[in-house]
Symmetry: D2
Subunit: 339 residues, 4 copies
């Protein structure tokens, strides 16, 4: 880290900071510039809170140099991680684009089976569907719970699709892991650190959605919690951030895809459904995600969005999905990949 | 809700929406305007997902009219709620300003007892201090756990201060409730709905921090989860939102104070420590919070911020706190309140 | 617009609002709902400030229904506008993707001519380059002014490329219009309404960059200022919005592309250079933009970014540009277009 | 600045950066850390674009150390600037709080004179009122122009208040300066650099509103443009930033007040009208602004907000203003100031 002193600091102020740096077990290196003095503190001490130095007299600010993530970073593992999911062992993170599709919520046997067959036929490798639903509104539909999980398992039985479903709290982890092929951590729980540790203790792959305004660093550190707990099978997912934009539910930040590819070995999917909030935008943003280099997409598909219990406005129909998959195949091919 | 049709919609399109509205158990009211047709859907159906109508043909958008919160709202309870905390039964939400102060983390017996005595002497009614710490960085100090809770209880014993400390997951609720007077829900957990329900099942008051970019509606709905689970003793807390501003850790959104006062009967505190991230701003923003009408503040105070294990940059010293309390008393008096 | 009354309003409160609505020349329509009364105000009065009604007693809020833009909207003109630029009359907004490339600033004859030839050879139809530069820092390079414009004109002479360059103030409009084929309005000037009117009085096409956090509505209304002043040749340009994201200079909001296509007949380009701030992200985001349906891109290309006077960090080299153009052609083909 | 190299960089990569640093006329200082090598570049070269170095091979990023503003900074001038405005020479930036009040737009002689007298009686020192109005919507009321200026001058004649009014473009500067005591630069024009230079060539004080999402650095650099052009009489004004918050028009970022006080000698006002968008919040936020240390407020006051041509929703009445002024006097006293 670099400690920037205020103008007018005295040698005693600098020495005081040097002492603090050494107390942290770091080496110091003082540079006297034309207008400012800075003190470089050298050494890897990820466990100490360096910000405390900001409260020393005549310190202007402290600039971190090292990113705090390690096992999620490309520095530690250069080749991309490929995660296998579901009964077929389909790959996420390799040359092939992986598409996960399905309704926001599991609503009924007919609904989930119909959609599972439709998305399978169109080329999906995974089936999404919520059994436990995090709802902003306590009066809204909260999901079918375990019976929803059983319907998802039945759909896997019939289609061979990998089941991707959300786990909302540590006491649900064992139950969800019993039925699901991939445990989804929702955006609201990206920094629910106890839950991250709990899914880190599982063997099932984890789909980690980016928090509502998570920085790239926070996103990778959340993955790091899971990996450090013993589970290296982490799939990242961009799902839009909250901004001032009024014409979307969230702003889909596709530049996070090349940024993740530069910083980390983990694969990344994109969720254009939550990432926009409007069904009419979903096909365009699916294509944009693949063109940007994403390893796949996760998209909401419903047999009858006008009667969906949740997220109807952003769910596409079976027909739109099938059409989009054809277009996606062309885009994937254009960027040297396939579906 | 109001369904706005696209220009050029046909009577059949309108009838289709009318049918959907009726299927939801709502009454319809069609208004044909100069440029647009809108359909008002009348009736209280907080449990249905009205957004689904947005996927009907020729629907432009759906505008909700009713706020979804109920028991947290002033419509249901007009007089302000006053919450009593700790052994002394000090009030939050009445005429008196309540100040809660203490370190970010409990670090040692000496640290917490010294600070408890100092903030008590300066006029605080509560002692804050983290025993379980949500840390972005998995390598950083994670708190003392139960032994931290015991130190907090010892400090209460000596000072009579109410102990306010964070609970991070449902399996910690019983333990934390055993020692704490107020259970704090951190910003990252504001939409951890299972945790909200769990603290809702306790009798201890809950300090609910606003999420990083939570809307006012989401904030009040989170409170509603707790109240609906049986615990009406909810204290709201503004702690800054994440924005593009670069000179602060968060942007302290003080206008949320009059907004909460208008919409809800719940009391609201302000946290200028997390709300700015810089100790030098804290006294000014404490005063601003009280002038804006907040029912109190929660502020980080440390005997030696330069050696704090966490949040040193935003912690003020005992002396600064004592000075700030004197100024706060003057501001409180100016707005018709007292400390 | 819809006026939503507070709960507990009296018939007199409603009548008062009805009177205000009628004073504005609008028709009223009162709907008494289960919990709320709303008053629909019917009629097109784009010139009045309807917000005033929000200050009437017992009014909760006013919800606008009609978008205020008109001549920029698809309601008024259904077929997409195609804008011809430069000596070749190359089209923006048709089936072909239009690529505009060049340095941030015109720095020297050699620099601009070399780059012009390189981007021409790779398939660009326009040459960008700033002669008058809006600089945040008053001490930074401010552009070559008129001699920069002359160099751009010389480059057009040699290559046939359309010259796209920024005009910063009304007193520069005539001068810039003398040399440029397309007048660029920068993001900081998107709501410089006097400048919008001034370029609206020209015949040259205008490239209108979206403001730093402009809403879609504000963006289209800015176009409307230009069109209403007599110049229908407006090309929109998404260049990223400012958000909390730390790993980019701006967040490129590609979903604005399908949103513009739905709301307006105007063509839209994407600027991935300003939209990300990092050269390494530019190729990926160029491809994503085209996949999302953009009508083209405008991208910063420099013969030697390490020595660029401005925007070196986000400029790509001639080689990277040529490579990107090949990939773009494949993506364009995949979405049914060509370069 | 500090150049941070990527891990795995070679001595040749480092030498290449050292060469680039020297070419910029800066001294270099290489520090080899445990995980990273950084190169400190020493010397003040505010005119060069240091970002270009980011495009050199194996450079991770470049961290600026020096703030680019100079004449606006406290480093250059330690004592606070006090600006005198209007016929009475009332001070902004001293111990007394300065209040500027009046309607959003000048609408008629009666309106402006009535309000001028009312705000004068309540203790204001300045009269605000727009003659040239920047309007997002081209169909909305655009102001009375010069006749509005004449009405403002007449109001000054009668009350002795300083007239504060907006200038939107360089061709209006002379005209507005003829009538106004303070030239206001609106938020949308904060980075209209040609306009900043034009008002910098006047002798009249300038009220510079913060841009919609301007950083602190950009805000002070905009002031620097004006000062460098010859006019040191700059008054800053916080008016809220655009964020994701839905219950306000803008988020009033009051922590900018202590930040400006730390970084700059310039006085700062707060505009709680634009800063919230809702009249009911204005009194609370006026008080909060003064408690936070602002040198005054600028607030919209209208004799009849329900019939205001512009900004009715955020304008307070004469009575509310008079009441607020009494409360403000108490708050000012509490923080050691007066009105």
């Amino acid at each position: 880290m670099i400690v920037v002193m205020k103008p007018g600091c005295t040698p005693a102020d600098v020495q005081h900071v040097v002492d603090l740096v050494r107390q942290l077990g770091l080496r110091d290196h003082v540079i006297v510039g034309t207008d400012r003095t800075v003190i470089a503190a050298i050494g890897d001490k990820r466990t100490v809170d360096k910000g405390a130095i900001e409260s020393a007299p005549m310190v202007d600010r402290v600039v971190p140099i090292l990113a705090p993530y390690k096992v999620a970073s490309r520095e530690v593992k250069r080749e991309p991680s490929v995660i296998r999911i579901g009964p077929s062992g389909a790959e996420i993170g390799g040359r092939k684009i992986g598409v996960i599709a399905g309704p926001c919520s599991v609503e009924s046997e007919e609904q989930i089976l119909t959609t599972a067959r439709a998305v399978r036929a169109a080329g999906a490798i995974g089936l999404r569907g919520g059994a436990f639903k995090p709802r902003t509104n306590p009066y809204a539909f909260q999901g079918l719970g375990e019976s929803g999980l059983k319907l998802l398992a039945a759909a896997r039985e019939q289609t061979g699709l990998a089941v991707v479903t959300e786990v909302m709290s540590i006491d649900q982890v064992d139950l969800v892991a019993e039925y699901a092929d991939v445990l989804q951590i929702g955006a609201r729980n990206m920094q629910n650190f106890n839950l991250l540790r709990a899914v880190g203790a599982c063997e099932k792959p984890v789909l980690l959605k980016r928090g509502m305004v998570a920085s790239l660093e926070e996103f990778l550190l959340a993955a790091e919690y899971i990996i450090n707990a013993g589970n290296p099978h982490v799939i990242l997912c961009e799902r839009g951030i909250r901004t001032c934009e009024e014409y979307v539910r969230n702003t889909l930040a596709l530049a996070v895809v090349p940024a993740v590819k530069r910083e980390s070995h983990l694969p990344i999917l994109v969720d254009p459904s939550h990432g926009t909030g409007h069904a009419y935008m979903v096909p365009a943003m699916c294509k944009a995600a693949i063109a940007a280099g994403a390893d796949g997409i996760i998209v909401e598909v419903h047999p009858d969005p006008q009667h969906a219990l949740t997220d109807g406005a952003q769910s596409i129909t079976h027909d739109t999905f099938a059409q989009t998959m054809q277009e996606l195949a062309a885009v994937a091919h254009a960027v040297g990949r396939s579906i």
